[in-house]
Amino acid sequence: MSEQQPAPTADEAADAETTTDASEPTQTPVTTGAASVVRALENAGVEAAFGVQGGAIMPIYDALYDSDIHHVTMAHEQGAAHAADAYGVVRGEPGVCLATSGPGATNLVTGIADADMDSDAMLALTGQVPSTMVGSDAFQETDTTGVTAPITKHNYFASDADTVGDTVGEAFALAAEGRPGPTLVDLPKDTTMAETDREPGPARPPETTTPPTEADEESVDAAARAIERAEKPLLLFGGGVVKANATEEARTFAIDNGIPVVTTMPAIGSMPEDHELCLSWAGMHGTGYANMAVTHCDLLVAVGCRFDDRLTGGVDTFAPEAEVVHVDVDEAEISKNVHADYPVVGDAKAALDQLTEAVDDAPDAREWRQQCTTWKEEYPLAYATPENEPLKPQFVVEALDEATPDDAIVTTGVGQHQMWAAQFWTFTNPRTWVSSHGLGTMGYGLPAAIGAKLAAPDKDVVCVDGDGSFLMTIQELSVAVREDLDITVAVLNNEYIGMVRQWQDAFFEGRRMAADYDWCPDFAKLAEAFGARGFSAESYDEAADAIEDALDYDGPSVIDFHIDPAENVYPMVSSGGANGKFALSEDQL
């Protein structure tokens, strides 16, 4: 059909019906509200959507029947939301998920909240009972706009069939505009069933929001002067660098000016981690050298980050000697958690170009760079591998990294395994680290891998999962099999809710309440039951073989790595503690 054509303008679209030559292949004309919703998605360039059917959303699905949009039926709506989220992260455009009213919509909630916390562009479409029944506690009625108001950029209740397509287009555009985030359109069944022949216009953000622009010249100049005179400057790249597609600009700025770089977790890959200026990521389980640099810098140039508490530790001791330049597209982030001495409001890509232009002389930071290198040597990411000991998770991550191309995509659950993946995989490309940061959602990994693979079919996709996290969304394996997705789930199985066990040992006198499993399923067999390939590994040799076999297999596979259950994640900054006081072992906490 017409998927490759540019989206028609409103006028063109309106004309289309009367002027289109009947001999040319054409889209089926809009006849209902539901059809105009689907047309709006097509106009916006949507190629895939993730969802689960149900009564109130059936008209939309019926309209999808006639569309080229690839609908992926997920096992659970939470999976649909995470898959859409990851699809969007990898593609750099809003992912789309669908669910019916009531339980369908509430099952999306975790995924929407996750996207909100990580500023991931996503559009959720939910069915709703007919508007004539709203408020009557009808079957499967939930106040979806009420429930999701605090976790969306904005949501809409679509009460008019003539405009519902435009509303969906607006919601799609708003999700991506400026600081991205999730939007939702609640679609009462009478709106989607109603007749209309109105073609929606192109996806356009609302008039009340301001599109991002270049930063104010004066603010850029002030920041540039501060950068020029800094002796210990440090760049902090946040997720905004990746979202604004500003990776090149950010790298250029760092390299041209010889400024060391730390990243936040969502920005992993924005600076190649094997670059000499890159100190990897800072924060609770960040590298020792990143946390030393943050603690001792005299100027912190933060781009597109929100100074989350997992990054800052206690704000009182965060970068305590540093003046702060804060570049952000969202003005409300400026001085929200950490005071910005030099605020720069604007799109990261434009602002970084402006800064590159405005800085005349690179700061004299030779000694500081030397200091950062020394810290790298002092605090290496190392781990012990005694002979015949249980498999170390860090080894598994490194082996997977070695066995896959540089642009392989890694998704994760939440817990120790997530931290090991972030620490021991060397990321060199943006949009290859796909994880749940702000919300910390166990179960994100597998559905995210599904979304990522559909977004980038040519790339290797590895989900580094935990046993606990995997069990939260394991049913999505059925989808990976059905869609024949070549993904590999690497379960770092410690038969523990490991991160909690680590905290119990450190802060609750080892009272391991509800953190260990009496019984853990055989993940390899489970994988086979789903129709995927299952492998398991207990030794280093088995691990190496399983990795080879699983990556060779052309379809979904699961490797159950039985890792050392006693292994803990370090370095660690205790909650609210000073980044510079990161512990390297339990006795230092």
Partner: protein, 235 residues
């Protein structure tokens, strides 16, 4: 395949990770306060709260009030009052908020409000802004003369007077209303309803930045509008 990250480093035996312990590292002296501002810990006092009147011009669509109030509860902004009403522009409403926050908190209130999709503009009113509040007071009707006198004193109005109760209305700034309420206590206040402050900027200053009057506020020139109406009519 080697499990060691760094091959030239000496074999690391664990547990945890290698490197100098926290007490072996240098630690900077500097500190930040709760707002992330660098401070001298000796001299720093707690950031002080103040009262601000914030006006938000919004699209008058369903749910806008709940979005605004939801924002305040979610972000734990201290709100004293909230009033809302239509403006002269079709589809617009003004929400006037009285908030009690630190400077940084008030800054956040304004910026976070500005991010809500239905919010068109946000402004904080100067101290000289015109503010008013309305209170309805229902008091016992035992001493009608005295009630009347106090009502007059506060330039109020009697809205309802019966054998048992008298209801009066007082308008004015917050101080005046507070004083009036105190003055009426002697009669025994049965019920009270206050609207909370509403406000406009003084003189030519727009209440929210760039705010423009709606068409219906333009001085009505009947000849002009008749003429245009006539133009539209087919001859």
């Amino acid at each position: 395949m080697s499990g060691e990250e760094s091959t030239d480093a000496p074999e690391f035996e664990g547990p945890g990770m290698p490197g100098p312990a926290p007490e072996e590292r240098p630690h900077p002296e500097g500190r930040r306060n709760t707002h992330g501002v660098r401070i001298d810990p000796e001299a720093e006092a707690k950031p002080r709260q103040r009262t601000a009147v914030v006006s938000a011009l919004v699209e008058h669509e369903p749910g806008v009030l709940s979005r605004v109030s939801g924002l305040f509860s979610r972000r734990q902004f201290n709100i004293e009052s909230l009033t809302v009403g239509k403006t002269t522009v079709d589809g617009h409403a003004r929400i006037t908020l009285v908030v009690e926050e630190t400077d940084a908190g008030i800054d956040q209130v304004k910026k976070q409000l500005g991010k809500l999709k239905p919010v068109i503009q946000v402004g904080e009113l100067d101290d000289d802004a015109v503010r008013a509040e309305l209170v309805l007071l229902k008091v016992r009707g035992d001493e009608p003369d005295k009630v009347h006198a106090i009502t007059q004193m506060y330039e109020g109005e009697t809205l309802d007077a019966g054998p048992r109760t008298i209801t009066v209305q007082i308008t004015g700034d917050q101080q005046k209303i507070d004083d009036a309420v105190d003055a009426f206590r002697q009669f025994g206040i049965i019920e009270i309803a206050r609207t909370g402050q509403t406000a406009l900027a003084r003189g030519d200053t727009p209440t929210t930045p760039g705010e423009e009057p709606g068409h219906s506020t333009e001085p009505k020139d009947s000849t002009y509008s008749d003429a245009t109406d006539a133009d539209d009519e087919p001859n």
